[in-house]
């Protein structure tokens, strides 16, 4: 647990900043709903006439004038993008930073196996992702109560569960990438999260590329799909397989890796 504690301490500032930023934006979105309720009814008509634009952002199957629909698009987008960036960033640097900052020599010359280092670093990532999502979920429930809206338990739990799984998938993939990098990995993490987000938008635009929904984890986080049909187990299973492959790649690479001076 020494490395878990060490990683959590090292990452506490980034964790606090990201959790606060996502939580704050989500809270603002929720607080705005009562004022925007009526405008949203009109906006709904406007969006309905915008064709594939509404489909691109998954807004074609939801009613914005009700809190459930508004939350599934507006609030989930904040948590979706923010959570994806957060999980990718913390995971993609977790192994490579040791070589970049030359602390690998310090860590790896202690009697700690590389498998234990991987186990504990991965645990610290999972703890941070779960804790961040728990805090955001609790805050979200609190804010929903505050504005006097009814909590739509099933849908909100499924929405937050999907985003947590999406972040865990990205964590696994970026953990794998991190084992292969020696420096400058943050751009890769941000880039990956952004690409995945846009792949989902593209997949919503045309049927010919709809298979991309099985590639990007945003594919199983569509608010409209979750609210109307629940979670898509196949997409989630494929996504978690990608995450597991990333983790396996990290173990395969890092346990044999030559650490540069």
């Amino acid at each position: 647990m020494t490395i878990v504690k060490h990683e959590l301490k090292q990452g506490v500032k980034a964790f606090a900043i990201w959790t606060f930023a996502i939580g704050f934006l989500l809270a603002v979105s929720i607080v705005l709903f009562p004022e925007m309720k009526e405008q949203m009814a009109q906006a709904g008509n406007m969006f309905a006439s915008m064709g594939s634009f509404t489909a691109a952002f998954g807004m074609d199957r939801l009613d914005f004038s009700v809190y459930k629909g508004y939350y599934a698009v507006e609030c989930a987008n904040v948590l979706g993008m923010g959570g994806a960036f957060f999980s990718s960033l913390i995971a993609v640097g977790i192994l490579s930073k040791e070589e970049r900052d030359k602390t690998a020599e310090f860590l790896l010359t202690h009697p700690v196996s590389r498998v234990r280092i991987l186990n504990e670093k991965l645990s610290s990532l999972v703890i941070r992702v779960l804790l961040m999502n728990l805090l955001i979920f609790a805050m979200s429930l609190g804010m929903t109560e505050l504005i006097g809206e009814q909590i739509f338990w099933k849908e909100i739990i499924l929405l937050h569960l999907a985003f947590t799984l999406m972040q865990l998938e990205l964590t696994g993939i970026c953990f794998g990438i991190s084992a292969f990098m020696t420096r400058g990995s943050l751009g890769v993490g941000l880039g990956l999260a952004a690409i995945m987000y846009f792949l989902n938008i593209i997949s919503n635009l045309a049927d010919s590329v709809s298979f991309l929904k099985y590639v990007t984890p945003f594919g199983y986080c569509e608010g409209g799909d979750i609210v109307n049909d629940g979670l898509d187990a196949i997409k989630i299973l494929i996504g978690l397989t990608f995450g597991a492959l990333g983790i396996a790649a990290a173990y395969g690479k890092y346990t044999r890796k030559d650490i540069r001076a």
């Binding site: 020494t2 602390t103 690998a104 310090f106 010359t109 650490i259």
Partner: protein, 293 residues
């Protein structure tokens, strides 16, 4: 029993040679020096022994443990001081020392405090605010606080002022007297000469000489220092000639009668003939392609 034993230990980085069929033996309780210029393979040897890089051939045992299959066991008994010290940014010295002790599952608080006091290391400062010398001291405490059986030190005194170097070597000798083995690589040959009982010279990834430090100096070459003028011309056996003002210094290996004849032909105010120091010897080995004369 050996503290370090390598047999044909080889490490290639792709096509580039790191070390090539390196055979080295360091007995327990020795104070051993490891000499060679940059790129000779010193750090590659050390990094391979510590498991930071994997050998591409051969084998090595440290304190009786295989460096590949028993890595954790041997690392628990080693203290390592890297040449380039780096710690986690934002941590205080005391937290770094505690982290190192926790990773070893050992309570080193008393020894850590004692060493910090001897080395005058401020424990409440953040490591990224420290000078290079103080970071080096923090690394020394990390390497020593758990009282390891074997100390592997890579260029240990770079960044330390002369007073701290003395204190550091005092601590090393105390540990050595208590039974620890010290394996030290250094560019500062006088350090090796003053402190080590045996030394190995590495060249292009291979050990070209390994003996007691005094024995390494027993070549038939002599360092000749002359004040005045001497007509050395192209006399065979003279090399490494340095002239500064009226002082002439050169290494001579050959007939001593001939040396005396040359000196008697010059205008000399003073002269000395001494055994060469370690620096001369390393130069000698490098010029002679590893063949001792």
């Amino acid at each position: 029993m050996e503290a370090i034993k390598t047999e044909k230990l080889t490490k290639y980085y792709g096509a580039n040679r790191g070390i090539d069929q390196l055979d080295l033996r360091v007995d327990r309780g020795e104070f051993f020096g490891f000499i060679g210029p940059n790129g000779a393979g010193k750090s590659t040897t050390i990094r391979t022994l510590l498991g930071l890089i994997s050998p591409t051939g051969g084998s090595a045992r440290v304190l009786g443990f295989d460096i590949v299959s028993d890595k954790q066991k041997l690392l628990g008994r080693i203290g390592y001081l890297p040449s380039d010290v780096a710690f986690y940014a934002g941590m205080k010295v005391r937290d770094v020392l505690k982290l190192s002790a926790d990773l070893r599952k050992t309570d080193c608080a008393a020894e850590s405090a004692y060493l910090c006091e001897r080395l005058q290391l401020p424990r409440d400062r953040r490591v990224d605010e420290l000078s290079f010398g103080n970071r080096k001291k923090a690394s020394i405490v990390c390497a020593l606080q758990h009282k390891p059986e074997l100390l592997i030190l890579d260029e240990p005194t770079s960044g330390l002022d002369p007073l701290m170097q003395k204190e550091f070597f005092d601590i090393l000798h105390e540990r050595h007297e208590q039974g620890a083995t010290v394996f030290m690589s250094s560019h500062v040959l006088s350090e090796i000469q003053r402190n080590c009982s045996r030394a190995a010279i590495i060249r292009e990834g291979r050990i070209i000489a390994c003996d007691r430090v005094e024995a390494l100096g027993k070549t038939n070459a002599k360092r000749v220092n002359v004040h005045g003028s001497v007509p050395i011309g192209d006399v065979p056996g003279i090399r490494d000639v340095n002239r500064q003002g009226d002082t002439l210094s050169f290494l001579y290996s050959g007939d001593m009668g001939q040396l005396l004849r040359i000196l008697s032909e010059g205008q000399i105010t003073d002269f000395s003939v001494t055994d060469p120091d370690l620096e001369d010897i390393v130069l000698h080995y490098y010029e002679k392609d590893g063949v001792r004369s």
